[in-house]
């Protein structure tokens, strides 16, 4: 006979209000196998846990049911308490009589009866629990960080400074991401490059950071602690070891009219180029679409001019495999395309704003380049069409964001702040200029943020119109902006010289593909999903894979950096252990009865089941079988459900346990 203890919690009034605890305790004491049944006002409190520990010892309990809240909330708490008293933690189960019972019922009589049933079922389950030991998996104490923007940089430096090696992969020729292209940052107006480039140099020089730029993650195999990552190093046509970054090559390159990606198309670059002077690594790359030599075999002046002979026209892509134990995804964002062309059928453009049709209608990142000292105009505000200084600029917020009609319901969060900043920067540079802002709401939640917006309005005279713009047209060289000011209840028409659209933030291109590669979930907009919105914000549902920055949701620099440090902290905690310990409640295959149909292999969402062979003692082949990789299995039970020959079972949730629970309910 089992010696099970049942501990019922009142949860203050949360359970006791609708469940008759006394009647329940009496009834449970009569259940076969129950040695002791007690109740307490707050089971999770110190005295509550102490009573559990004491009873385990006094009554020599061999199983425990805590009837309280959801196991998500406190299973770990009570398992720890049991372990402290010498009971194997996997002999503890919870009966959820709060979310599943007291919170959803009104009738005390019926609720009490239901709570008794729930507990009886848990008792039946725990009678069949096995003592389990956590699984130990060796790990590679080396992290992969994908994306070299401010979040990836912060995460890489933190992990490297904690003493672990980091492999940082960046798609573009330089690290720095979007932040490297910003002018000045809110709410302090410090220069973006001045605060970022020293961190970029640190990354470039860090002995424990291996940097792959102009490279992409192409494939991931393995599991937490033991990932094998394929990285494609795209042909750069420049020998990184020989090159000194002197700049002779791009000075002589005759291919000039290539739109600069770094300048968001507001300026030009050569065919051989570094994206910006402070690039890390400060080594150029050849754009093969623009290079005259690579296109038609003529030119090659850069190679002639290059003293260290670093130009390699025969360079090829190279695929490298790196072994890592943890992965941080920091792939950031891109701006929503305001034009007709959309990559997603759910999204539509804003034809009414004429972006792409009128040269002087630009987006927020393009304005950043105009306002940046390192930008195409050296920081002078000049409109793209004719280079004239605009005397009136209209800024429109929420272009795409919070607009179900165009496919995005979410708030892009940073626009209210950067629109205020843009107005401010503009007024600081063009004193007699007028800055008009159309907005829905001003969302300035953040330290010193509201004050910043007030400064734009009160000190710098930005004119805020609460309302939307319906159409922008061009008349006699002016952009006619027609909108509404809902506070005065009047239509407003402004003849502007330039219009800046604060377009929505979207996850960067390829983020969904990468997420699929790493078994990370994405939401309907393609943002990567965290494991728990409050308590596990940087973890994902894939063990050993973490997220930070704008790939998760729109966020500003301080938030991205904080999240990056949090993700790095999680990796460092993982690496601080000798080995990886994992929950032992995972699936296992009965290899004798497995028919090797591999339905489970196809069904497993974590690719944790592999095809294997059963061999005899001499190594002779006996049969094929499916086999669970304990390092990857998340214990979801999908394989158990699909197995036609009932050869897979889940420890802690065995079929026997589930059926006995159901049977106990039927009795």
């Amino acid at each position: 006979m089992s010696r099970i203890g049942v501990f019922t919690c009142w949860c203050g009034e949360n359970i006791a209000r609708t469940v008759d605890i006394e009647r329940l305790t009496e009834a449970i004491a009569q259940v076969p196998g129950v040695r002791v049944a007690v109740n307490y006002k707050y089971m999770c409190s110190d005295p509550g846990q102490a009573s559990i520990r004491d009873k385990i010892v006094e009554e020599k309990l061999d199983g425990l049911v805590v009837a309280a809240c959801s196991p998500h909330m406190h299973l770990k708490t009570f398992r720890r308490a049991a372990a402290a008293a010498g009971l194997n933690p996997y002999l503890v189960e919870m009966a959820n009589v709060r979310e599943h019972c007291s919170w959803v019922h009104k009738d005390k009589e019926l609720a009490t009866t239901k709570a008794i049933e729930i507990i009886r079922m848990a008792v039946e389950k725990v009678r069949r629990n096995h003592a389990l030991q956590p699984i130990r998996v060796p790990m590679t104490k080396r992290a992969l960080v994908i994306g070299g923007g401010v979040a990836g940089i912060q995460a890489s430096l933190d992990i490297a400074d904690a003493g672990y090696e980091v492999v940082l992969v960046e798609r573009d020729p330089s690290i720095g991401g979007k932040m490297a292209g910003l002018s000045e940052t809110f709410p302090t107006l410090d220069c973006s490059q001045c605060i970022l480039t020293p961190r970029m140099v640190e990354v470039g020089q860090h002995p424990r950071i291996k940097l792959y730029t102009y490279s992409e993650v192409e494939g991931v195999e393995g599991f937490v602690g033991n990932f094998k990552v394929q990285i494609r190093k795209k042909a750069r046509y420049v020998d990184m070891d020989k090159c000194t970054g002197c700049g002779d090559c791009w000075a002589v390159c005759p291919s000039k009219k290539n739109l600069s990606e770094f300048d968001c198309g507001m300026g030009y670059r050569k065919a051989i180029y570094i994206p910006f002077p402070q690039a890390v690594p400060a080594r150029p790359v050849i754009d093969k679409e623009a290079c005259l030599y690579l296109k038609n075999g003529k030119c090659g002046v850069c190679a002639k001019k290059c003293a260290p002979q670093a130009i390699k026209f025969d360079d090829q892509d190279e695929v490298i495999t790196e072994e890592v134990g943890a992965v941080i995804i920091a792939t950031g964002y891109r701006l929503y395309n305001i034009t007709k062309d959309q990559d997603n059928s759910k999204l539509t453009g804003y034809g009414e704003y004429g972006y792409g049709m009128y040269k002087d209608v630009i987006d927020g990142l393009q304005f950043e380049r105009l306002a940046s000292a390192s930008g195409p105009t050296s920081g002078a505000i000049k409109r793209p069409s004719d280079g004239a200084e605009p005397k009136k600029i209209v800024f429109i917020s929420c272009v795409g964001s919070r607009d179900e009609q165009h496919g995005m319901t979410y708030c892009s969060k940073i626009c209210c702040m950067y629109v205020a900043k843009h107005a401010m920067l503009y007024k600081h540079k063009v004193h007699d200029g007028e800055a008009h802002i159309f907005y829905m709401d001003i969302r300035a939640g953040g330290k010193n943020y509201e004050e910043f917006v007030r400064r734009a309005i009160e000190q710098d005279g930005a004119v805020y119109h609460r309302g939307r713009v319906s159409k922008i047209t061009q008349e006699n060289g002016k952009l006619v902006v027609r909108g509404a000011d809902t506070l005065i209840g009047q239509p407003v028409t402004i003849e502007a010289d330039m219009v800046v659209l604060a377009s929505a933030m979207r996850p960067s291109e390829g983020a969904t593909r990468l997420a699929q590669m790493l078994n990370v979930g994405v939401d309907e907009f393609g943002f990567l999903s965290e494991s728990h919105p409050k308590l596990r914000p940087v973890e994902t549902n894939a063990a050993g894979v973490f997220i930070c920055g704008a790939c998760h949701a729109p966020k500003d620099i301080p938030e991205a950096v904080a999240q990056a440090s949090a993700a790095a902290g999680k990796v460092a905690i993982m690496f601080a252990n000798e080995e990886l310990t994992r929950e032992p409640e995972i699936a296992s295959v009965n290899e004798l009865t497995c028919a090797a149909c591999f339905t489970c292999v196809r069904a497993c969402p974590y690719t944790a089941i592999e095809k294997a062979m059963v061999l005899d003692g001499r190594g002779n082949f006996i049969k094929n079988t499916a086999r669970v990789n304990p390092g990857l299995c998340m214990g979801c039970g999908t394989c158990v459900a699909v197995c036609p020959s009932k050869s897979v079972d889940l420890e802690g949730f065995s079929e026997e346990q589930i059926y006995s629970q159901v049977e106990s309910l039927a009795l």
Binding site: K340, T348, G351, G354, M357, K471, T473, E475, V480
Partner: protein, 286 residues
């Protein structure tokens, strides 16, 4: 090619010049129009402002007949009609219970299988290249402002036709005729539509703005695909002159007129001589 044809009240009444033009041009392009048997009013603005169920039942009856008679496509040249018909298809396909209810009201089964198309979509089905090849008299003198008005492209989610704010399908067609469409700003602004009865001042001021903008961008004529737009922009020019003191004298053509002219059809055949403004292009050029 043979397709169903739903004229709607306008094309059999005030805008029978549009019907003449559509019939003549499509016949010349080898499209046979089969007029819908026993068709009724689509309900237009009146029905949906009074009774939702009525506004569904009227178009539904027309759709059910089209379906019964096996039309896979049906042309509704008036954008108000085509919008009401498409809106009904959408609502009925979204709600099976509403569909059953309406079927009971109209005493006809309805599945929503007939596709409703506007005149531009029919021209696209013919093919811009085929139209270009059929041109006998290139319209090189024409600098039209293509005017879509409010309903041709909206509501975008239901119509799924062209960009609602920056459409360009008419431009593509008139370019194929040798004309040089102008870039202008009032392509999708409202002309005042049915306000022409209740509040003529609004129509006069809106239509005046549209015509002025077309002229300011170098247009020597306007092209429309909506009977209501035609009424306001063509017929009201005299009132605009009287009240606003602005003399436009801008020819307003249906898209089918321009194609007919380019194919060599006569103004009388196309009903162009029934328009209110009949200044020949040469006179406009002065």
């Amino acid at each position: 090619m043979q397709i169903g044809y739903y004229p709607g009240c306008a094309l059999h009444g005030s805008s029978n010049d549009y019907e003449m033009s559509v019939r003549a041009t499509l016949t010349a392009l080898g499209v046979q129009l089969k007029e819908l048997d026993d068709w009724i009013c689509c309900g237009a603005t009146a029905a949906h402002s009074i009774n939702k169920k009525l506004s569904m039942a009227l178009p539904a009856r027309n759709l059910a007949i089209a379906e019964r008679d096996g039309y896979s496509e049906m042309l509704a040249p008036c954008p108000m009609c085509s919008m009401e018909l498409l809106k009904t298809i959408k609502e009925l396909s979204d709600s099976p219970s509403l569909r059953r209810e309406i079927a009971e009201v109209i005493e006809l089964p309805i599945k929503g299988k007939t596709q409703v198309v506007n005149i531009i979509q029919v021209l696209q089905m013919v093919g811009v290249e085929r139209i270009r090849e059929a041109v006998k008299r290139p319209l090189s003198e024409f600098r039209p402002a293509c005017y879509y008005g409010c309903l041709l492209t909206r509501p975008a989610k239901i119509l799924k036709f062209d960009d609602p704010e920056q459409p360009d399908s008419m431009e593509e067609i008139v370019e194929a005729l040798g004309a040089k469409p102008v870039q202008w700003n009032y392509k999708t602004e409202c002309c005042g539509a049915g306000m022409t009865m209740a509040n003529e001042d609004t129509v006069i001021s809106l239509s005046h703005k549209i015509l002025s903008n077309a002229e300011a961008h170098g247009a020597n004529c306007v092209v429309v695909a909506c009977p209501m737009c035609h009424v306001n922009l063509d017929m009201k020019q005299r009132d605009i002159e009287r009240r606003q003191g602005a003399r436009h004298r801008l020819m307003v053509y249906y898209i089918s007129d321009l194609i007919g002219l380019a194919l060599g059809l006569g103004e009388h055949e196309l009903g162009i001589d029934r328009h209110f403004v009949s200044a020949p292009l040469a006179a406009v050029k002065e």
